[in-house]
């Protein structure tokens, strides 16, 4: 199953960044697909990007909502919120594990041999601060003299934008290099700190910073697809926690905000059938019955 996930991540990354003409055009893709919001974090100014970043789009709507309203156009971003709501209410945070190119990158970098570290659990709440402050509050309320806000998270923090758009575009369009200043170097520093952290910590950006993951995580407990934990069967061996790419202690309860539903705990870690999957009212794969034979064989 994890091999399937890896292939899906490869395909999703390729589909999100499938415009391969950029070395010739030296520009970003400008086709109609760019009106679609991608499910994962993928900068729309990446020269190969085929879709729009939902987080960047949401910030843009919020930053322009006041002047738009004054001009008779009320565009609060229902299209983006609806897209995220549809994905979230169906699958919760699942796109983080299966479809997000930046999440995929973090998993690959974490495979580099090194001493692995764990972060305190309270740090994972920081992403909600980034969501509320940088994605909602600042774009909505800090306005220029003309009434326009700015995309604060993209501008000051987003490492995906620096990696996927900043560095390639500076190579493709040398005229942009003249504009490089303190802001670019501060974003570059954030990127390098995070790249280094990815070697030692499991998915540090997803767990601590990502506002898109924070939005999806709000749906984890109420999505149609759910994971079920049976405390009566669980022996708390902590194998699920040790294997988890997000460091989630599944044995303490299912559908925690940081669970990205990669299903590694279900398919590989748990040998006791304490984990099962549910889609709506339909039990997709009841863990106890499926694992029973395996358990008896191993005795």
């Amino acid at each position: 199953m994890m091999r399937v996930r890896r292939w899906i991540q490869v395909v999703a990354t390729f589909l999100s960044n499938g415009y391969l003409m950029f070395p010739f055009t030296r520009n970003i893709y400008q086709g109609r697909l760019k009106s679609l919001c991608l499910p994962g974090l993928n900068c729309y100014s990446c020269p190969a990007a085929t879709g729009a970043c939902p987080l960047g789009s949401l910030q843009t709507f919020l930053a322009n909502v006041r002047p738009g309203f004054d001009a008779g156009k009320f565009h609060p971003g229902f299209y983006v919120i609806g897209t995220l709501g549809l994905i979230g209410s169906l699958a919760g945070r699942m796109p983080c594990a299966w479809l997000c190119p930046f999440g995929f990158l973090q998993e690959l970098i974490h495979k580099l041999p090194s001493r692995k570290l764990e972060i305190p659990s309270f740090v994972s709440r920081f992403k909600y601060i980034f969501l509320v402050v940088f994605v909602v509050f600042l774009p909505l309320f800090i306005l220029d003299p003309y009434g326009y806000g700015t995309t604060w998270f993209c501008k000051h923090i987003c490492p995906a934008g620096t990696l996927e758009a900043g560095l390639p575009m500076l190579i493709l369009q040398p005229s942009l290099r003249d504009l490089v200043g303190v802001l670019f170097y501060s974003k570059l520093t954030i990127l390098f700190i995070l790249l280094a952290a990815m070697v030692f910590i499991r998915r540090p950006f997803c767990r601590m910073i990502c506002p898109l993951g924070a939005i999806y995580s709000l749906f984890n407990r109420v999505s149609i697809f759910k994971m079920i934990h049976d405390p009566d069967v669980c022996v708390k061996c902590k194998k699920c926690y040790l294997d988890c790419p997000m460091g989630v202690k599944f044995y303490e309860g299912a559908n925690q905000p940081d669970c990205i539903r990669c299903l590694k705990c279900y398919t590989e870690s748990c040998h006791y059938g304490a984990i099962s999957l549910e889609f709506g009212t339909y039990r997709v794969m009841p863990g106890l019955t499926r694992k029973k034979d395996t358990l008896q064989e191993s005795k």
Binding site: K34, Y44, C53, V80, T150, K155, R283, L288
Partner: protein, 66 residues
């Protein structure tokens, strides 16, 4: 490593698991419908065009130079 030889309680049946998951089943559907309504109203008000207009221009903020 796993303690593979530990005993499983007999009362832990799939039915019991299903009972614990039951209470929240209506809310996801309500959430799905609300999201669908938001999505369609966004489509009708022309928001995808706004997304496209933003996405086809090089975002200087995203790059870190604007």
């Amino acid at each position: 490593m796993h303690a593979l030889n530990s005993e499983k309680p007999e009362h832990a049946t799939p039915r019991r698991q299903a009972e614990t998951a039951a209470p929240l089943r209506k809310f996801p559907l309500i959430l799905l419908v609300v999201s669908l309504i938001l999505f369609i109203s966004g489509l009708n008000s022309g928001e995808p065009v706004s997304v496209w207009e933003k996405a086809v221009r090089i975002c200087l903020s995203c790059i870190g130079i604007g």
